[in-house]
Each structure stands twice: as C-alpha cells, then as structure tokens.
C-alpha cells in the first residue's frame, strides 16, 4: 500500500476493484464504511455482486479478465473531459516528457517485439534527452510525441461502446463509475484505489495496477491522505516476507538477485545503480551500493572485506534471463531437476495452479521437508487421491512448527507497518518456532561440512550466525542485525541514512533500518497519539521506510510546499523554520518550487512518476489482452489475443474459445477460510459456517443446465475436475460480451482432500499454468470451464 489501513477512512471516494474487501479484509472494510459515513462514495467493480457490493454506492459488473479495458475507458474519459489535475500531472509525472521516434504501437504490439523470444527491445521506448541527458519536455502537453498525447492516442480506441462490448459492463454503469471517480481530480478531493488478487492474478496483472496508478496520477491522488494505490495483501506477513526477499529475483530490500553476467561487485553496482542528469532529482537508489555492501556485511560479518568484494561471489547467481518462479520451479521439479525440497508453511498442492501437476512433481523428489502446524495436502501428497504410496519414492520429514503466539518477533502489515508480537506461551508439545528450526538445521549442516568438507563450503562455514543464546535464537538480536550496526562503534545505526559502502556498517534490510535502533524497539511501540488528525499514528509500531506513513507524500503539496488539500495535510513546508511538518517527508529537501527544491518522486531517477512506464516487459502503456483462456475467438481491440510478452508453458493443456469449456470461471475467497484453508479447515467453528466447496452459478445458467440450488455439480477444465455444491444466485449475472451472452461462474479455492471430510477438493485442479508477464503470478482469476449436474449417488 502507498497509504495505510486507517487512511482509507479519510477518502472522498473508494474504488474497490479486484477485491472483495468486505469478505476478505473485513476489518479494513470498517474504514471504508467510516469514509462512507462521512459522505464518501464507494464504488465496487467486480464480476460478482458480493457483500462489498452491498455497501457500495455504485456497483458495476464486468467480465473477469477485462479490467484494462474498463480502466482504459476511464483514462479516456478523464482526458476527454479534461478532468486531470493539471499542475500535478505536468510537474509531478512524466506526462510532459517527449518519447523517442522509435516508439510505436500498432495492431496490439508496441515497437521492438520479437515473437520468437516473446520479448520487446525496450530501448525503442526510450525518452528523448537533451545534450545534458535530461528528458525533453513540453509542459503544455501539446507535443505530438509527449507522453500525454501518446496516452491520449493509445486510449482513443477505448470508447464506451468498445469497452462495454469487452467488459460486458452496461455503458451507463461505466459512465457512473468514471464520473464518480474522476471527480477526485480536483486538488482538494481525493480518491483511493483498493485492489487485491482480482488485479494481480492475471496474465496482465501488473498492467492492471499500472492502469490504476495512471488514473491516480492523472487525478493527483498519489501521496495524498485518502489516496494512493493500495494492495490489500493476503497473508499477515506477506509484506515482510517480500521485503526479506524469500523470492528468486531479489535479495532483501528490493535489490536485484545477482546474475551470471554480474561478474563482480563493481559490475553489479554499476549495472543496478541508477544515474540521473536531472539536477532536481533526489534519485534515492543512487545509494544502492551502501545497502548491498551493508547487506553482505550482515551475511558474512568480518569475513566480508573490501579486498574480497565483501564476499559477493559467495552469493548464488542465476543465469541471465533465468526465471525460477513457482511455475518454472514445479515444471523443473516434474522433470526431475531437484532431489530435495523444503516447504515451510505453504501448501502448494492446493495453492499452485494445475495442482495435479504439482502433486505429480513432488513424487519426483528424493526427499521433502515440510514445516507446518498441521498435516496438510502437501506433506501427505503421497497419500492423496490417485496416488499409490507404494509407488511414491519421496521421503517426507514433517516438522511441527510453533504457533505465532508461542514466539516473539515482528510482522509487517499491508500498510508497511511493523508490529511486534510478544510471546504468550511456550511452543506446545515438541513443536518449535520456525526460526529455531532453521537455526538448528543450519547448525547441523554446518557441523557436517566442518567434519566432512564438501563442495564450496565457505558460504556455509563463514556465514555470520550469532543469534542464539543457550541454543535458542533471540529475535531481538536478529531484529538488530536487520536494523544494522555502525561497525566502528558497535552501536545500532539510527536509520539507513547512516549506512556506508566501505564495509564500516552492516544492515540486513535497509528499508527496515530504524526499526530497532539505540532508542529501542520501535516496532513494539503502542502509542495511539494522532497529532496530525489524519490517523498516521507515528508512535504506533514502525512504518518502513523511516516511519513514513504515506509514501510519495511530497506529491501531496503544491510546488511551494502547501498541501493541495489543507484539511487533510500530510506534510507542509514551514517557510520560516525551513523544514517540513507532518508525516516523515519523502526526503528533507524543500519543495521543487523553492530554492534548492527537489522533485517529489525520490525513488525515480527522473524525480517524477511514470505515466509512461518503459521498464515493464509488456509495454509502457497498459493494453487489453484476453486471458489465456477466453470465451472470445478474437480480441476486439487488436489481433493480439494473449499478452505477447508472457512466457508460455507449451507442455501444459489450454482450451481457449473451446465449445467444450464455454463458461468463464473465476476463483474467489471466503471470510471463514483462508488461502488453501489449512489454518481454517481444522477449526470446527469455521467449518460449520463454510463446510464444503460450492460454485456460484447464475439463475440463467442454472436454468439452461437443469441445475437446482444445492445440486451436486461437476466443474471441469481441460486440466481437471472438481465436484461442488451448486449455489444458484443472482449475485452472478450473464453479461453481453461482443454481441453474445457470456456466463461466469465462481468457486473458492480454500478446500482440499485431507480435511474436512466431504469438504471437497482444491479449485486449483482447474486453473491454468500461465502467469503475468512481469511477475509470473498465475492467472487464477479467468479461465474456461464446463459445468454439469452430477448424477445422484447413493447416500447423498
């Protein structure tokens, strides 16, 4: 989230799209309703009329997978009706930048496309620069190659008729939504966008969020209280685990994972440290070398010296272009690449698409370690449906993990606030905290290498690992390591501004620096003081970075540092004291209009936000492409059906526009169950409320198929089948798409074969192996199925 949970309560208009906040983030919905009580308009755009829709002033249905068309139409509406916040757009975004002559867009493709590689040469999308290397601009926004005009041209095709035909949203609903949200383009009006997996889980997911971001920039809503682009994330520490880089493509705090061609630390720093010729840009990532060297010092301690590149060569490196994300990982596993697999607190046999493929892949392993609080469908895959244990060679070690209240440490919410959880009791039985298990496992592996030697033992033997007291990991010592030390004094650094690239500081994760310094554990603070009156709670927990509660807050003021919206001021420049007051500003320099002033978007080398985003894999402007599996034979907007830059998994089965699978399916979540349901399906209270898998079907489709409410049906895709109870409902309505009626169905993926009895299987037996072009997040939200009534069986 750019903003935070309580901040939602200050908005004038909330666009909830790709999220069913009322059911999946119920307590966050409280702040949506608080805003509504104060007069805010609530908009819900979703394939299904949910409990979120019931609280909305405007509900608009759409076809799953068509959001870019919907949002592209809004961009056109804002431009055509001149509803942008012009001063913001001209000064704080790259709308005025002139794009080079090699940029083009034709027939659904941007210039530079290589169909064999399914990739673009992004150099063709470069911004034109002057002799000093500063982007050329036209502040009047009239130049035919300025970003604003190119955007206007790009979205000219997204007229109401076309958008309505793609999305199935009635035209009058489109206009209602556009009008209400675009009204927040006034400087003192503000709108927020709240999204969740309905936006991320598509082949064009990243571009959904880009489209939302472009709208927020055009309306001047980023950096404002009650504004921003806000991901309602799923798991309680998903923000923290992302920050700590339990991902293949980054090392902690958003530094790129090194690649084969990054042959030395110098080359790495050179390649990944952005430079700028723009004198008014803060270009914060210029400090990357300090963060990477300090990270290496936290990894390898005194062994990391200037002479050995701070042990940079000990970090594992991917090949250039190698993708090690889930879909590739399980494909490699199925081919027998891995002998061993560690699964900590996850249930991929229910959560990864085409789950049958995952289950088979696990049987190719020699051994698997599963660390969890319950037996689960992954630990017991060898005993699952269609498996013959006698033929599964995989050894499984199932280690009992402690519960969150049985240990101490911090978690980071979706609004980037770190909170400290205290330990209530000791782990029950023989269970142990996950961190303790990792510690003991590391000590055993290290001892083996000490005793026997082995391949390249240095990174293991010389790892800095001094977090235990009497054999028990001390989370405070780890939290301090993450915060970082001044190694010359041995004191904790106050925050990341004190980090250096010469090996005299250490820091495990620079964005968390300041969370546990010499003043104490900031994450454990519980002070509810709200001095600004806009719910920033600066002494409650710690928000990264540097306790900033609203990101990009330098964009919440005009060029002289006065808030666009004085009644909800996030920061303000005090001209007398020559400093900012309010939230922790995005850097101390004065506002851009004053002497020594700096541009507002400090993480961008150009200092402004990117309406034109030439860094993404699939184009600088979001463009509508159909999901991999679509009900349409043709993309109404261009000859390109699928996102041309997303990798294909050709050995997997797909069925697009196939009469055998005529219905659009989307997967959903329930209040009472969570993710694959492993932490809820064992709970009798929750299972009583939601006992088994069901599928929501419109009354029209039910009539066509002779299905009654409560009937057992079979939902099938080309990959698998799931039995479910039919829930015949008005919540889903057929939509008129491209001239014909399209049916959509929805089913939750929080069940699995293990528990409860008769609860049903994971809906991910149905979902396709394909992901977003930038993130590879799978397309769980739009695929094609058939639904048939299941003949009555005995005992039912």
């Amino acid at each position: 989230m750019t903003n935070n949970w309580r901040d939602i309560g200050t908005t004038d208009c909330a666009l909830i799209m790709g999220s069913n906040a009322a059911e999946n983030h119920p307590i966050a919905m409280k702040w949506v309703l608080r805003a509504k009580d104060k007069g805010a308009k609530i908009i819900h755009v979703d394939p299904r009329y949910t409990r979120t829709s019931t609280k909305a002033d405007i509900y608009a249905p759409l076809r799953a997978g068509s959001d870019i068309a919907f949002l592209g139409g809004m961009i056109k509406y804002i431009i055509d009706n001149n509803l942008i916040q012009k001063e913001y757009v001209v000064n704080y975004t790259n709308a005025a930048f002139i794009v080079g002559t090699k940029y083009d867009f034709k027939d659904g493709l941007f210039s530079g496309y290589d169909p064999e590689k399914r990739a673009y040469d992004k150099k063709l999308w470069a911004i034109e620069k002057d002799e000093k290397g500063i982007p050329k601009k036209d502040p009047t926004l009239q130049h035919e190659r300025c970003v604003y005009q190119l955007m206007k041209k790009h979205y000219a095709r997204y007229d109401l008729d076309t958008v309505s035909s793609i999305t199935g949203t009635p035209k009058e609903d489109l206009v209602k939504v556009y009008e209400a949200f675009a009204a927040t383009g006034k400087p003192d009006k503000v709108g927020t966008i709240l999204y969740s997996m309905g936006w991320t889980q598509h082949t064009v997911g990243t571009q959904y969020i880009r489209a939302g971001s472009i709208i927020q920039l055009l309306l001047g809503n980023v950096g404002m209280a009650g504004g921003g682009v806000n991901a309602l994330r799923g798991e309680h520490n998903v923000q923290g685990s992302t920050d700590q880089a339990l991902l293949f493509h980054i090392i902690p705090a958003y530094n790129p994972a090194p690649r084969g061609s990054d042959v030395s630390l110098e080359k790495y720093k050179e390649k990944y440290t952005p430079k700028t010729a723009e004198p008014m840009s803060v270009n914060w990532w210029q400090h990357r070398p300090k963060y990477v060297v300090s990270f290496l010092k936290s990894m390898y301690g005194a062994n990391a010296t200037k002479d050995n590149e701070f042990c940079y060569q000990w970090l594992p490196k991917l090949d250039d272009g190698q993708n090690a994300s889930f879909l590739f990982m399980f494909d490699e596993m199925a081919k027998g690449k891995f002998s061993g697999f560690i699964c900590l607190g996850m249930n991929p046999t229910c959560s990864v698409p085409n789950a049958n493929h995952v289950r088979k892949a696990l049987s190719k392993l020699d051994w698997m370690v599963d660390i969890d609080i319950f037996e689960n469908e992954t630990s017991s895959f060898w005993n699952g449906p269609g498996m013959n244990p006698k033929k599964v060679k995989t050894e499984v070690f199932l280690l009992p993990a402690a519960m969150y209240i049985e240990k101490e440490g911090s978690v980071t919410d979706s609004g980037r606030m770190l909170q400290w959880r205290f330990k209530a009791i000791d782990p029950i039985g023989e269970s142990k905290a996950d961190g303790q298990i990792v510690h003991e496992l590391y000590m055993k592996v290290k001892a083996l290498y000490e005793k026997e030697g082995g391949k390249f033992p240095e990174p293991i033997l010389k790892l800095k690992w001094d977090y235990a007291k009497d054999g028990k990991v001390c989370p405070h010592l780890v939290a301090k390591e993450i915060n970082g030390y001044d190694l010359t004094t041995g004191k904790l650094v106050v925050n990341f501004t004190k980090l250096k690239d010469d090996g005299t500081t250490s820091c495990g994760n620079w964005i968390y620096s300041g969370a546990y310094n010499e003043d104490g554990n900031m994450m454990a603070r519980r002070d509810k003081a709200d001095p600004t009156g806009i719910y920033l709670f600066p002494k409650c927990g710690f928000s990264w970075p540097v306790n900033r509660r609203i990101l990009y807050n330098r964009a919440s003021v005009d060029l002289n540092g006065n808030p666009w919206d004085p009644k909800r001021a996030v920061i303000k420049w005090d001209a007398v004291a020559k400093k900012w007051v309010g939230d922790v500003p995005d850097g101390p320099p004065p506002p851009m209009g004053l002497e020594g002033g700096k541009l507002p978007f400090i993480m961008k080398p150009d200092g402004v936000a990117s309406i034109f985003g030439p860094g993404l894999a699939d184009g600088p402007f979001p463009e509508h492409y159909e999901p991999l599996e679509s009900p349409l034979k043709k993309n109404p907007l261009s000859p390109q059906m699928l996102n041309p830059a997303t990798p294909l998994f050709k050995e997997h089965k797909f069925a697009t526009s196939d009469p055998k699978f005529p219905y659009v399916a989307t997967t959903i979540r329930l209040t009472e169950h969570w993710q694959t349901g492993l932490m809820t399906r064992y709970l009798s209270w929750l299972v009583e409320a939601q006992p088994q898998i069901f599928v929501e079907i419109s009354e029209e489709l039910a009539k066509e198929k002779g299905i009654k409410n409560g009937d057992m049906v079979i939902v099938s895709s080309i990959r698998g089948k799931v039995e479910a109870v039919a829930m015949v409902t008005k919540r889903l309505q057929p939509l008129k798409v491209n001239g014909r009626m399209i049916h959509q169905i929805a089913l939750p993926w929080c069940y699995g074969w293990l528990i409860p009895k008769d609860g049903g299987e994971s809906a991910n037996l149905l979902t396709p192996t394909i992901g977003d072009a930038n993130t590879l997040i799978p397309e769980y939200k739009a695929f094609m199925v058939n639904v048939e009534k299941l003949p009555k069986r005995k005992g039912r």
């Binding site: 309580r6 959560s351 006698k390 519960m403 990792v438 592996v445 932490m679 809820t680 209270w685 590879l776």
Partner: protein, 188 residues
C-alpha cells in the same frame, strides 16, 4: 473522560446487555458482567497480531498456567480497535487445536504411513540429505563460464506465516546453501 480498556469493556458490555435483555423484562446485566470478567480473571495478557490476513489486527492473548484461555481483539490497536473477523475471532480454536502437530513425523520412501521420530534424528538425517543434494548439484560455473556458485538440485518455498526475523534467517540459510529456486506465496 479517561477510560481504561477494561472499564470500556465493562461499560459497553453493560450497555449492550442492558439494552437487549431489559427489553425482555429481565435485567441480567450484573450476571453478564460477572461471567465476562470471570473467564479471564487473573489471566496474563499478551498483545499479538492476528495470523491471518494482512490488515494486522491487534489481539490480546489471555493465558493462565502456561495455557491459552482466550484470544480477543485489542481495542488499543488503531487499525482494528478491538474488532476481529470470523477467522481472527476463532484464533483460540486454532492455537489450542488438538490436531496440531506436536511431534516430528517421517514417511519413508514407498511407505504408506507416518512414523514418529525424534528431532535429533530428523535434523541429522535432513542435514545429510541437504549436503548430499548440494554437493551433487553444486554449480560453480554456468555454461557461459560465469561464476555462479549455486546449488541447482534443491528448491525451497515459504513463508508469509513467519516473523520478519525468521524470514531473514531463512533467506540467509538458503542463500548460504546456494539456492536460487526460492519462492513463496507473495507470487501467488
């Protein structure tokens, strides 16, 4: 008015009970307040954060004699102000669940059953397998001759369910082994 959390609960409990029950002609208010107080009387309070979604609602865990006896919303936490959803409000049944794993389990190759094992045995055996997999698959240089120092024969996933400090230790451990196939739910 300065109201402590417990005072607040008493007042609001009284108000709600009074409003509903007195309409029926009974006033059970004192009984309600007494029983509500009794359940957690003398219990130790520990603040926590809910383990489900990413809203980060505050919880108070009541314990007595080393056992959890109650979990409820924390009114002093500003995001949730004491509210919890159905899952968070059910956290008591999660942490006290009789089906939780309490022992190390092992399933041998081609076996049809779990066996109970000791931690020491399991950690030793796992360490041997990690070493064997790593030594067998360790790649110092890739096909282009670039130094990559990675372990190609193992993958690891997880987890959004562990604390930041645990995440940091886990990534450190995995990267020390040379793993590059590291993933977790953030990409799902």
């Amino acid at each position: 008015m300065n109201v402590t959390r417990r005072d607040f609960m008493k007042i609001s409990g009284v108000a709600v009970a009074g409003a509903t029950l007195s309409q029926l002609g009974f006033d059970l208010t004192p009984v309600q307040a007494y029983t509500a107080e009794l359940r957690i009387k003398g219990a130790k309070e520990t603040t926590s954060v809910c383990c489900y979604c990413s809203v980060g609602c505050g919880q108070i865990v009541h314990t007595s004699g080393g056992k959890v006896i109650n979990i409820e919303g924390d009114p002093d936490q500003p995001t949730s102000e004491g509210s919890l959803c159905a899952k968070g409000a059910g956290a008591y049944e999660l942490v006290t669940n009789p089906k939780r794993l309490t022992k190390v389990m092992y399933r041998a190759p081609n076996s049809s059953k779990w066996e109970v094992k000791s931690w020491d045995w399991a950690l030793n055996e796992i360490a041997k397998r990690i070493k064997k997999s790593r030594d067998k698959s360790f790649t110092e240089k890739n096909a282009k001759g670039e130094v990559v120092n990675r372990c190609d024969g193992m993958a690891a996933i997880g987890s959004t369910h562990i604390n930041n400090e645990e995440c940091w230790l886990y990534q450190k451990f995995l990267r020390s082994l040379g793993l590059v196939y590291i993933e977790h739910e953030a990409r799902l």
